[in-house]
Amino acid sequence: MIALKLAFRNLLGAGLRTWLNVTVLSFAFVVIIFYNGMLNGWDRQGKRDTQAWEVGQGQLWHPTYDKYDVFSIQDAHGLMETREKQLAVEGKLTPILIAQGTAYPEGRMQGVLLKGIDPEQKILKIPSHLLKQTATAADDATATDGATEVDVHYAIDVHHAIIGKRMAKSLKVGEGDQMLIRWRDKNGTFDALEVKIVAVFKSDVPSIDNGQMYLSLQTLQQMMDMPGEATILVSGTEEINGNLGNWVFKDLDFLFTELDEIILSKRAGSMIMQSTLLLIALLAIFDTQILSIFRRQKEIGTYIALGMTRAQVVGIFTVEGGAHSILAALVGAVYGIPLFMWLAAKGITFGVDDMGITMAETIFPYYSLGLIAFTTLFVIAAATIVSYIPARRISKMNPTDALRGKVN
């Protein structure tokens, strides 16, 4: 208690030097909280977007499917059993069929990942409803011959497709453009078809956009000669939390791995800047401590003469150095809180286009109580430690030398 009171008196008494240290430390404080708040905001928004656009409440993968191996796609498809079909009807999951193909926009050639998605699905934000097509050639004999399954492939001459803005850029096409696509069906036979881009959607999740083209599920199934089959099933409910028959359940933790890794690496990268700033501030405190212990020998001697043990005097100087961090927290709060509140409300918009990573255009920093509490405790602890290290010298001081101001 005496130590704390004395600490603040001494710090405030030291004037400019204290405020210099406090300002630098408060800056470190604010930057650390700001940066981590940004990463937290990114993380939250990224996960929310990834869920909304790609992973739902988890995915069920065909056992041979491997997201990172394009060659696995050829064999990664299977029939949906009754149970899966029922869940799809209930809107609790939606199947996606994935196949490889080639697009020929204006005669150029480019590989694409074809994805068949149910136009009725509501689980993902992908605007699949735009893929709904009624057979314009409905009176065509082949389409109305009473067959149980309408052969859309031949009933419709131009098929609707949607792509993301990144894909549109890479194909150099826009809404309304048409192009030929070619693929090999299940049996290895090449086939071709004309598609029309009916929409270019905008998503912050590049992994559902880059190199991909969405067709209606039924169309792709017919193209591939894989009726009723899918590659993955996207779950829209927390009820599904394990494998369904052959379908292997992938939970959110697994599906977020990539995003987690990106953010972790950003966090690690920013650590260098954060620790450098903190280090500068701590160095200033360390320096102040050394100087003040050297300058205030007589005071140290007086404390001991008044009946303090050397350990208590070490305590006084440690608390005094550490108290810089408390002042820094207060000063940081004065300009940091309004700044953080403003940023959290307005968000931070990055002008640059994404670099293939899931990141919202405008990030709203998220400052959790945990982040603020942890940062504060960490900075207080760090400041106290760097204050303690020079203060330890006091315990080796001879009080008579200290009183004479002769310690060097």
């Binding site: 008196r9 001697g301 003469a305 303090m308 043990t309 208590q312 009080p399 008579t400």
Partner: protein, 237 residues
């Protein structure tokens, strides 16, 4: 006049390392002080006065020999024990006052009591009483920087006296004061010595101090060269 011994020093030698060898600051000193003495260690600069005072105050330890202060052997005390001895029983007064600049007069005086288990009510009473002894009750809220030298030393006396110690060690207390202030604080100390039976030991070469002493111990080169009891005509007023 026979008094109960409160400080007993036997064969005390203090050496300081200097270069490869050492310097003998006190050389086989033998001396006793009784309760209620108003004694002075007198001698030229470098004769060992401060060194002896520091050892009595348990701020330093003898190289050989021993100092028994209030029944405790200074050479055998732990840091904690010597801190406790100083905190409760020994008051220090320095040539340069050594007040804590960030504290008010009141807080400077209160400081030593904060280390003891004392209620704030008791502390307040003791601090006000000590300020009354030195005549500074009206300056309790002042900071040391606003005080004159004489006032500062009176605060230091109050700080040394507030815990009602048995021994007060005053190292050249008048060296930074003018004649008028010197007499003022000496009279204050003499009065406290007579009223509270506190033992005062001075280190000084100031003639004014000597006028008040009832014992003069002359030191030269770390040895006691004379030890005389004197009857001084200067009385506390």
């Amino acid at each position: 006049m026979e008094q109960k011994s409160i400080i007993s020093i036997t064969n005390l030698t203090k050496e300081f390392p200097v270069g490869k060898g050492h310097f003998t600051a006190l050389d086989k000193v033998n001396i006793e002080f009784g309760v209620g003495e108003f004694a002075g260690l007198v001698g030229p600069s470098g004769s060992g006065k401060t060194t002896l005072l520091n050892i009595i105050g348990s701020l330093d330890t003898p190289t050989t020999g021993d100092a028994i202060v209030m029944g405790q052997s200074i050479s055998k005390l732990s840091h904690k024990q010597s801190a406790l001895l100083r905190n409760h029983h020994i008051g220090f007064i320095f040539q340069t006052f050594n007040l804590l600049p960030v504290y008010t007069v009141y807080e400077n005086v209160e400081f030593a009591l904060l280390l003891q288990n004392m209620s704030s009510g008791e502390r307040h009473k003791a601090v006000m009483e000590a300020l009354e002894w030195v005549g500074l009750t009206d300056k309790e809220k002042s900071k040391p920087s606003m005080l004159s030298g004489g006032e500062s030393q009176r605060v230091a006396i109050a700080r040394a006296m507030v815990k009602k110690p048995q021994i007060v060690l005053a190292d050249e207390p008048t060296a930074n004061l003018d004649s008028k202030n010197s007499h003022h604080i000496l009279q204050t100390m003499k009065k406290l010595n007579e009223e509270l039976k506190v033992t005062f030991i001075f280190a000084t070469h100031d003639e004014k101090v000597m006028m008040y002493l009832n014992r003069v111990v002359n030191l030269a080169d770390g040895r006691i060269v004379s030890d005389e009891r004197v009857m001084n005509h200067v009385k506390a007023q």
